[in-house]
């Protein structure tokens, strides 16, 4: 296929965007099912366009960097600085677009069943399409500003979709929380862009341009840019301590959680760091170490938080945070292809797990309503294995994938990250590796706990006429497709020297980064490392299985009491939410009041009204000069003339 086709890559975001506008305007007049099908077809067509783009990109031969900009136009031109509204296809963006469009299409199909009967059905699909369009703008952007456009677009859609059921106060609040928390990160993103523009050796936001000039950037500047961008990435990708919005974001409909808050939007931060990977290579090691440490802290912290959660989706939310922590760890140790690989596999198995949990919630809905308990509370589930065989089977696959059992997808990617961390060498790297392993064992534990609580044991919701049942086909088919990919997607990057297609394909996009060398897993050391990861996962599963097999069938969670003092910390997510609330409501409010009533009222308003008052008072004084005595005016004029004369003569004399 001809690479020239890539000039039309703007069509990929354009199609869902136009569909979204159409559905927003006319969605109410359509039958709900028609709106759903239109939206799904739009997504499906972007997936087809992806496939075409992929082969077109592959057809670019030779040593040159595979990169193709689309048609576009100059967005703004200020002096020498200009920004194009243009898209760009390269290996990194094509990989992102691939799983985004594929998972999004499946989730659209799933939503047709899941959202059935919702009064704002077409609106939901319009938002989903708008989200997909924004996400594609984000990853296909030719420069940082276009990426930022998409970045804000997905933020908006995230807000709209989290608070989609805005009649629930908790959902409305969660939407606002997500939006506001992300603003904190966006400040970092914006500052980084400003810094790039004012840096003489860069001076342009275009990725290609930045990559060309990379060697001329001072290390300190590069470090500052990377760390500021990382703040942005922390917001979007829910890294500690800007992660607080993601667990609350589970208030949104489950397909939203799967698509936006597990598979795609939260990977935007990872994508941004990878786009800027050449800069990480130029920056001082402090930058990458910071990223790795924040990543591993997030991975461990979120894994601990996931231990004690009872909400089926919250477990997965913390798990998402934890897995994203792993990817940032990978970026920090320079395993860029490991990071994107984990993002891809995670997108598949986490979307699968979320959709599986959505299927469970869907079936628990009626019984929860009847018995007055929360349909998402795992303490009231149990024994769903026989009632929902397809959901069960696919969930098990997702579980094995996230835990990292050979040969499921998560095994390959997680092992690559941990292995690369170990192979980096040095005390810090070994420490990171150890903490990563601890997070991995906890992952195995909490995921096994979830599986056992939901699918095994007795049904704890009691006797009911509304027995949970398997979900409709539109929901189970995406589950089956995703589970197939959760098994095989890991095979795209088997870490052997002979089979490094994925890394090689990706290489040009992250070229120029000094520490971008990817560890290979040939030889005994690689096998041992992989074995360690596997053993760790199995240990976690075994412990959780033993503990939960004998657990009482009431609503308490006896076995967890074993973790002792960690339990309240885990349940309350280390009190970070309440800590932030206290900080904002106490000193934060005081600071805001001081800013509003002292700084703004007295200093800023004072300056402007003082200026006005000064002008007014000087006017009152000066107008007295106009006395009406003509002879006095003559005097003024003569004095003035003489003064000017003297000045002129004096000036000449000088």
């Amino acid at each position: 296929m001809s690479p020239d086709l890539l000039e039309y890559s703007y069509l990929m975001p354009a199609v869902p965007f136009v569909t979204a506008i159409f559905l927003l305007l006319f969605g109410k007049r359509l039958k709900p099912i028609v709106a759903g099908i239109i939206a799904t077809l739009a997504m499906g067509s972007t997936f087809v366009m992806w496939a075409i783009s992929f082969f077109a990109l592959r057809s670019i031969e030779g040593e040159e960097i595979r990169r193709m900009a689309s048609q576009g136009y100059t967005w703004m031109q200020i002096g020498n600085f200009s920004v194009d509204l243009r898209f760009m296809v390269d290996p990194l963006s094509i990989i992102m677009v691939g799983f985004i469009t594929f998972v999004a299409t499946l989730i659209h199909i799933y939503s047709i069943g899941y959202m059935k009967g919702d009064p704002r059905y077409s609106r939901f699909f319009a938002y989903l399409n708008l989200f997909a369009a924004s996400m594609l703008v984000l990853v296909l952007g030719e420069n940082l500003l276009v990426t930022f456009l998409g970045w804000e677009g997905v933020g908006l859609c995230s807000y709209l979709l989290i608070s989609f059921w805005f009649h629930k106060p908790s959902a409305a609040t969660a939407g606002k929380k997500a939006f506001i928390t992300n603003r904190v990160g966006d400040v970092g993103f914006l500052l980084a862009m400003f810094l790039i523009v004012v840096t003489p050796s860069l001076g342009s936001l275009s990725y290609a341009h930045i990559q060309d000039r990379i060697s001329a950037v001072p290390a300190v500047t590069a470090t500052a840019i990377i760390l500021l961008l990382f703040v942005g990435a922390m917001g979007k990708s829910a890294q500690f301590p800007l992660h607080i919005w993601l667990p609350d974001a589970m208030e949104g409909p489950t397909p939203v959680s799967a698509l936006i808050h597990a598979a795609t939007m939260v990977t935007a931060g990872v994508f941004l760091m990878l786009r800027m990977a050449p800069l990480i290579g130029v920056a001082t090691p402090a930058a990458s170490t910071t990223i790795a440490i924040v990543g591993v802290i997030t991975a461990l912290y979120a894994a601990i938080c996931a231990l004690a959660q009872n909400d089926i989706k919250r477990v997965l939310a913390y798990s998402t945070i934890s897995q994203l922590g792993f990817t940032f760890l990978a970026i920090g140790v320079g395993a860029y292809s490991g990071a994107i690989f984990h993002v891809v596999t995670h997108a598949f198995f986490k979307a699968l797990l979320f959709l599986g949990s959505g299927s469970v919630i869907h079936s628990m809905h009626k019984v929860g309503h009847e018995k007055h308990f929360d349909e998402q509370d795992m303490r009231f589930m149990g024994g769903l294995k026989k009632l929902m065989p397809i959901t069960y089977a696919t969930f098990i696959i997702g579980w094995l994938a996230i835990v990292g059992i050979f040969p499921f997808a998560g095994f390959w990617s997680k092992d690559e990250i941990l292995g690369a961390t170990y192979l980096k060498g040095g005390a810090i790297a070994y420490g990171l590796w150890a903490v990563g392993l601890l997070a991995a064992i906890l992952t195995a534990f909490y995921m096994t706990r979830q599986v056992r609580m939901v699918f095994y044991g007795k049904a704890r919701y009691g006797e009911t006429e509304n027995t949970p049942h398997e979900s409709p086909k539109t929901m189970t088919i995406p589950l089956i497709i995703l589970s197939v990919f959760a098994i095989v997607i890991g095979l795209i990057n088997i870490p052997l020297k002979s089979r490094e297609d994925f890394t090689k394909f990706l290489d040009p996009a992250i070229e120029g980064a000094e520490n971008a060398k990817i560890a290979t897993f040939d030889g005994a050391q690689g096998l041992i490392l992989a074995g360690v990861s596997l053993v760790i996962a199995i240990i976690g599963i075994v412990i959780a299985t033993i503990v939960y097999k004998t657990r009482p069938t009431d609503e308490t969670d006896e076995p967890l009491k074993a973790i002792g003092p960690l339990l309240p910390l885990s349940l309350n997510a280390f009190y970070i939410n309440s800590g932030i609330s206290k900080l904002v409501s106490g000193p934060g409010t005081k600071f805001a009041n001081w800013l509003a009533f002292t700084v703004d009222n007295k200093v800023i308003d004072g300056a402007s009204s003082g200026l006005a008052q000064g002008v007014q008072e000087s006017g009152v004084t000066i107008r007295k000069v106009q006395s009406g005595f003509v002879r006095r005016y003559v005097l003024y004029i003569s004095i003035g003339t003489f003064l000017m004369l003297i000045l002129a003569l004096w000036g000449n004399a000088q």
Binding site: G628, F629, V634
Partner: protein, 119 residues
Amino acid sequence: MTITTTHYLVLAAIIFCIGLAGVSIRKNALVMFMSVELMLNAASLTFVAYSKALDDVAGQVSVFFILVVAAGEVAVGLALMVAIFKRKHKTSPDEISNMAEAHRDKSVEGKSAGVANVS
């Protein structure tokens, strides 16, 4: 004794000062007008003197302009003064200063200050 350019200039300066003093001191508008004419003539004399000294005709052209402008000024000024005299029966400009700030009464001033505060 030959009459040099300096003599003309000194004469012009004296005339100018007489005119300036007249405008500053006299109260009658008509006399003030005449004093202004004196000042203009002093300027014209300077122009002519320099025109002769520097052998440049431009100075003399300027004098024509001054004469024309002065004539126009007198025509307008006298017409104004006649009109004012007809209404007020006064010739001193000091007494017809009702457009000046100092002659406003206090209430008007307060009002204008109030308006300014609002804006």
